[in-house]
């Protein structure tokens, strides 16, 4: 894209919708099941049958409070659920229960890591306007192949799933920053166990508001809204496409029209869904079926005490407490499960840096190859600690241990037993090693000659030969000792 940085300043605000990790829906006892048969995870309440009433899911409230506190918001002791009225087939009641005039939380911020001058790491603080609770709508299926060309099918499994909407201030200054912001939000939601925040599954969706203003201007330009973006790449691409489109319009002396846009990832272009002139009037009013949500100061403090350490804090602690590099610490705090695995294994093993290396090199690779999360794996931190200890103690070799990681990740197991079963115990029987050393020395007289003429490095070659002869099972320390003794003769 063309460089607009000299002329215009980009102004972006995000509305992020995140599914809360609850067992049942926000106002209905229907279970939340991803991938269930259409219209099977439903209940009369989510179907809006005549006579049904909403009852607030208290677990959803706890999670929403936790997320709000983790993002520094002020959680209000009184908030109100309101009806947002509009007609759509996947909105069974003809209104969505949301919060409007008195939301759960206001204020707050999210710190976003950004690359500063010369690639130095820095961070920007994006302020939040509010966080409120609401229910999701169902899904309309327009696909001709499923619904037929003249029909739309409706699946209400998602109708009523609890959401929080996190509304940022227009503090974001680039498309890249927008996706970095969303990553930071996702990390907080995951570390706090508030949401699975899986964009592919639709747990996390976002609307992006974009406007441009002349550099130095303090007034905002007219904004447009990109609706329902569901991948980090689409967010960046769509925002960049929209920035470009607005810049072109403004450069040509035109005016940006306030509108809602859809982004087509295939063409990389945005298209107008509707102009704001014919904006919907949602006729919000407090839902008379629900009483005000009243929270005691104690409840809010309880939620505050349940907030775990977030990624950023944990990364900083790993650097200071375990003397890890910033990069390694960031890798190990990419998810709370990896961070917890590392800490548990380190605690048992006693040498965090060694454990970090094993995780970052071998465990992560094995997980990535299998597209597994550490949570989904049967590998326990205890097993990793014991495996590394066996290497430390010369009971098996680094090579053998690394070879076992993939299996442990895939199907779990006891490292001692596996080493024994696979015959991977280090050979520390000096007789066997002496025999191998004698054979290697006999087969490589020129190397022995070189060593004696002062070429000390040739020891490494001879070591390698001995290890090969013992199929990598010989205890390297024992090999080195015997080799030195024999060569010194």
């Amino acid at each position: 894209m063309s460089d607009i940085s000299g002329e215009f300043e980009v102004v972006i605000g995000l509305e992020v919708h995140a599914h809360l990790r609850t067992e049942s829906k926000l106002f209905s006892p229907a279970p939340i099941v991803y991938g269930a048969e259409p219209n099977h995870a439903v209940h009369p309440v989510c179907l809006a049958l005549p006579g049904v009433l909403p009852v607030l899911n208290e677990r959803a409230v706890e999670l929403a409070i936790r997320a709000s506190l983790a993002m520094g918001c002020e959680v209000h002791q009184r908030s109100i659920f309101a009806r947002k009225n509009y007609f759509y087939p996947d909105l069974p009641k003809g209104y969505q229960i949301s919060q409007y005039e008195e939301p759960l939380a206001t204020g707050g911020w999210v710190d976003v890591p950004v690359e500063g001058a010369g690639g130095a790491a820095g961070k920007r603080r994006i302020r939040l306007t509010r966080i409120h609770m609401e229910e999701d709508a169902g899904k309309s299926i327009h696909d001709d192949a499923i619904a037929g060309s003249d029909s739309t099918l409706v699946d209400l499994n998602r109708a009523g799933v609890p959401l929080i909407e996190i509304v940022s201030e227009p503090d974001i200054r680039s498309a890249e920053e927008a996706s970095a912001y969303l990553r930071a939000v996702r990390s907080i939601l995951r570390f706090t166990d508030v949401s699975d925040a899986d964009m592919e599954k639709g747990h996390l969706r976002c609307d992006v508001n974009v406007s441009l203003r002349l550099r130095g201007s303090t007034e905002y330009g007219t904004r447009t809204e990109l609706k329902n973006l569901n991948s980090f790449r689409f967010i960046e691409d769509a925002a960049n496409a929209e920035i470009e489109r607005q810049a072109k319009t403004l450069r040509a002396g035109g005016r940006v029209q306030q509108c809602t846009l859809a982004y087509d990832p295939r063409s990389g272009r945005t298209s107008v869904l509707r102009l704001k002139e014919d904006a919907d009037d949602y006729r919000y009013f407090p839902d008379p079926d629900l009483i005000p949500l009243l929270l005691s100061a104690k409840q809010i403090e309880q939620a505050r005490s349940e907030i775990p350490e977030l990624a950023e804090q944990r990364s900083e602690r790993f650097q200071s407490e375990y003397d890890l590099s910033e990069y390694d610490a960031a890798q190990l705090t990419a998810s709370s499960s990896i961070a917890e695995f590392f800490e548990a294994a380190s605690k048992q093993h006693g040498a965090p840096k060694v454990v970090a290396n094993w995780i970052l090199r071998d465990v992560m690779q094995a997980l990535n190859e299998r597209e597994l999360a550490i949570d989904d794996s049967l590998f326990s931190p205890d097993a990793l600690a014991r495996l590394i200890k066996m290497v430390d103690d010369g009971k098996t070799t680094v090579k053998s241990a690394r070879g076992l990681i993939a299996e442990l990740v895939e199907s779990g197991g006891d490292p001692e037993e596996l080493v024994a079963e696979r015959g991977l115990a280090a050979v520390s029987d000096t007789g066997v090693i002496e025999q191998a050393v004698a054979e290697v020395l006999a087969a490589n007289p020129e190397s022995v000659e070189l060593f004696r003429s002062g070429e000390g490095k040739v020891v490494n070659f001879l070591m390698g030969q001995v290890m090969q002869k013992t199929q990598g099972k010989a205890d390297p320390a024992a090999v080195r000792e015997i080799l030195a003794r024999e060569l010194g003769k």
Binding site: P44, F87, G94, T152, D281, P288
Partner: protein, 488 residues
Amino acid sequence: MPEGVGTLHELRAALDAGETSSVEIVGQCLRRAEASQDTLNAFVGLRAEAALREAEESDTRRERGEVRSPIDGLPLAIKDNMVQTSEPAHCASRILEGFISPYTATAVEGLERSGAIVIGRTNMDEFAMGSSTEHSVNGPTRNPWDADRTPGGSSGGSAAAVAARIVPAALGSDTGGSIRQPASFCGVVGMKPTYGRVSRWGLVAFASSLDQIGAFAQTAADCAWIFEAIAGHDSRDSTSIPEPAPAYSGALSGDVSGLRIGLPKEYFVEDGVDAGILAAVRDSVAELERAGAKTVEVSLPHARYAVATYYAIANAEASSNLARFDGVRYGHRAVGAKGLTEMYCRTRSEGFGTEVKRRILLGTYFLSAGYYDAYYRKAQQVRTLVRRDFERAFEACDALITPTSPETAFRLGEKTSDPLTMYLSDIYTVSANLAGIPALSMPCGSVGGLPVGLQIFGSALDEATPLRIADAFQAITDHHTACPGDFA
């Protein structure tokens, strides 16, 4: 026509004495319902087979000494806006044609648990919007006292069925007077309890913050039995009162001595109300004074704003509550519509009657951007003032007495062309809904051969006092025993 049925108390005594059986009583009710249907059109559906089966089960329980409650084996009717599993619930509307409920309303469950038997569903104004039971896809219900007159509404079918002695009792719903005004027009007792006392789960919503299920019967003592079956906390209704409901029968001491009865001066003005009605109400108050009650004049200064406030709030909520009837999932759907918007428009145009459309349009307007503050928000503020009026009044008295309606039953068609006049028939009843307080209407005389209703307001949570006053009144008077000539 088969003989009319007695009160719940009379039927209970007859069952306990072994003089009759539940099967006999239910059969009698069903036959009388059928025989009167052409004249009254009180019912929209009977569940004859299920009711007789349930009656047999009740008779078996009684033989085994396993009677569940005083109303076990006794028949009741319910209004067409309460759902019951495997039964239709059409709210007298075309838009719900074909709908069969897969679940049961909490209040109806309460009846079932008590062993009471629902014999059928009664006619009503469509979605409970109306004061005459004329706005029904099933045609109007007629007043047992005069078939050219309306039974009132919207629970007109339930009121007519009790007045005509088809059933001893029935459930209705009251959003602005929909139990009390028809009770008054038909000469029966009708009571709405405190808002939140009976769960709204399974009551098809008209105006959620005002709707309340209540009961019709010939006597206050019968009403007490019904409330003991249907009242109480329900976790499925967030607006349900958490406290358990009191044992109402125990509160019927028959004694009103020392009770302070407030007479709101705004309800006793000569110009707005029929002089005969005022006289009947005053005579009844005098009767209570002779029984030892004290009277005190009180003021409800915001009462004059109640009707306007009520219609702003009720219609706003209705416009949203009725949005779910969109032809997508159940009920009527227009045939052959091209595209979604046309399907919505035609479905709702065909499915709703004129009065419902009028209220949806008004309510939509009240909630619209730019009008919300002037109508909905203002109405909520006035509602607070109305509630405070009552709180203040109840500092000086234990209950309030007023006429239920400024007139006796009006003629069919008399007001259908003038909705505003129709709305004004709620003038004495709506404030109880705005304030959420309990209120009952009981017969207290007649004017021109038509029953007159006397209304008793209780303070919030206190259904017992109005019931006790009505019960004591019925012990010393016989207005409640008057039966329409054709159904005697």
